[in-house]
Amino acid sequence: MSSPQLLQDVSSARLTWLRFKRHRLALASGIFLVVIYLTAGFCEFFAVYEPNSRNPRAIYAPPQQVHFIDPVEGFQLRPFVYGYHLTINPDTWVREYTEDHSQKFPLQFFAPGEAYQFWNLFGASRHFVTVPDTGYLHLFGTDKLGRDIFSRVLYGARISLSLGLLGVALTIVLGVLIGGLAGYLGGMVDNVIQRTIEVLQSIPTLPLWMALSAALPPHWSPLGVYFGIIVILSFIQWTGLARVVRGRFLALREEDFVVAARLLGAGRLRIIFRHLLPSFMSHIITTATLAIPGMILAETALSFLGVGLRAPIVSWGVLLQQAQNFQVIILTPWLLIPGVFVVLVVIAFNLLGDGMRDAADPYGGSNSA
C-alpha cells in the first residue's frame, strides 16, 4: 500500500481517464477524431488546392497513385505521381485516364503551392504536400469540373465537423436548461415541458427538418444558412438530452448530499452548479458525444437532398450530391469518398461515446480500476 499514488488520493477525473484509457477502440477513435478535427481546422494548409480551383486537364479523373519505384531509376525516397493520359472511348464516349509515364510529378512536403488565405486572416502558399507548378496532384481524383476531391473533402470536413460540434453545443445548452428547469421546478412547468417534448418527438424528423430548412430565406448568405441549419438541427435534438437531465435532476434532488447542502443553507444556484451538475456532467458529455454523429448525418442527409447547405459552401453532404447519380458507382466511384469519411467519423464518435460512457462512472461497474 505504499505505491507513489494511492487510489484514494486520485481525483474522480483521473480515475475516469484511467478507465477510459483501457478502452482501446475508444482511445483510437478519440485520436482519429483529434487528427481529423485538426486537419479540418487547418484545411487550407493540408489541402492541395482551393475547393473551387479547377484542373481542365483532369475532368472526372480517378485518384492518382503514389509511387516510390521508377522503372528507370528504380527505388527513390521521394514519392511521386504520374500525370494523366486521356483517351476518349470512341464507342461510349467515356473519358478513360491512364498513367502517363512521361510526366512525373515529385511530391514536395511543406513546399509552396497554390496561394490561399489562411482563416481569411493572412495570405500564405505553403502546403503540407504539393507538386511543382507544372504538375497536379489529385489523391482522391476529381469531379466533373476538375476540382480536387481530396481538397474538397478537407474543406467539407471543416463545415460538417464544426456543424456537429456547434449543433451539439447548442443542444446541450437547450437540453440542460429546459431539462434542468423541468427537473428542478417540477409541477406545472415540468408537465408542460414534458408534453412539449413528447409532441416534438412524435413528429418524423426528416420531413420536419426539410420543412424548416425550406423555410430558410433563399437570399441568406452561406454563413447564415450554415447557422440556420445548426439552429434547426439542435431545435429538434435537444429533447432527448432534456429528458436525461430532467431524470437526473429528479433523482439527485433527493440524494442525501444534496439535502445536506440545502440544510447547510446553500442557495439554488450553488446546489445546481456545485452539487447537481458536476454529478452528471460526465453523462451530459457522453450523451453529447453520441449526439454529434446524429448531427453530422442529419446535415449530410439534408445537403444530399438539396435542402441543407448549398453550393458555394463545401460540406460532405454537398459533395455527396454529385454522387446521387447511380452511374457514379460504375464510372466515378471516387466521388463516394466523402461518404467514407462520414462513415468513419460516425463510427469513431460512437466508439468514443461508448468508451466515455463506460468510463463515466469511476466508482461503479464491475471492472473498477
Binding site: 487510489l7 484514494q8 445536506a260 447547510l264 443553507g265 446553500a266 454529478s279
Partner: protein, 286 residues
Amino acid sequence: MSDELLRVNQLNVRFPVMSRGLLRRQTSDFHAVKDLSFHLNRGETLGIVGESGSGKTSLVRALIRAIKPSSGSAVFNSSQGQVDLCQLSDKQLVPLRTQMQMIFQDPFASLNPRMKVGEIIAEPLAIHAPASRAEHRGRVIEMLGRVGLEASAIQRFPHAFSGGQRQRIGIARALIMQPALVVCDEAVSALDVSVQAQVLNLLADLQAELGLTYIFVSHDLNVVRHFCERALVMYRGEVVEEGAVDDLFDRPQHNYTRLLLSAIPSIDPDVRLAPLSRASLGLPIE
C-alpha cells in the same frame, strides 16, 4: 443549563397522496406526524425511538425544515431571539442554518463524491462566513482534529475513507459553524458496532466541549439508553410515552414501549429472544 432551546407544539406533517394518471389530483394524505408536542432543553440529549414508519425521520426533517411541516409551531431560541421554525420562509431560514445542523444516517450518500473532504467541510463556511481560503483551511484542519482525522484528509475524496471516518467528516461539516442544535438521524445505525461506540463517544465528547444539544433518532434502544437523558417513544406518528430513559426502560407505561423493549436481543446467547406479540398487547398488526 436547563433553559429551553426548542418547544414544539401541535406539530403535524402530512404527505399528499396523488392519484395516478394524467391529472394527478391529490386524493388523500398520509399523516406522518400527528399533533406532536415536546420541549428540548439546552445541552441535553433527547432520544426519539420507534419502529420503521413511526414518523421519527419525518419529525426531525420537519424540525430542521428539510420538509415543510403542515401545521403547528416549533419555537427555537436562536441567538437572535425566539423564532418559529414552522413559519419562516426558506430564505429566512438560511441564517439560522448555522445554528441547527443534521448528521445523516448514510455516511456514503451524504458526502458529495466529487468534492474533496476539505471542500465538503468548508462548505458551510463558504456559504455563511466568506473569508480567505487560508482562514477556512485553518478552521477545517482544527475541526478535523476534533473529530479525530488527520489534516491530510482535506486533499482526499470521500471514497478514500471508511464508513466511520466518513461519518466523522459528516460530523465535522455539521459542527464547523458551532450550531446549538444538532439532529442525528440514525447517525450510527449504518456503522458496525465497534465503530458505533467510537462515534457515540466522539459525539459525547463534542457535546461536552461545544455545549451541543442533540436530538438523537434511533431504533436501537440500547444506544438510546446509553446516550440519551430523555426519550420520546413514537408510534404511528404520535408520542406514546416520554420520560427519562431509566424510567422508560425500567418502568414502561405504554404497551408499545413494552413491545419495543421485549425485542432487544440479550447479550447472553442462552437467553432466547422472545418479543411480545402485538395482539397480546392490544396493538394493531400492520
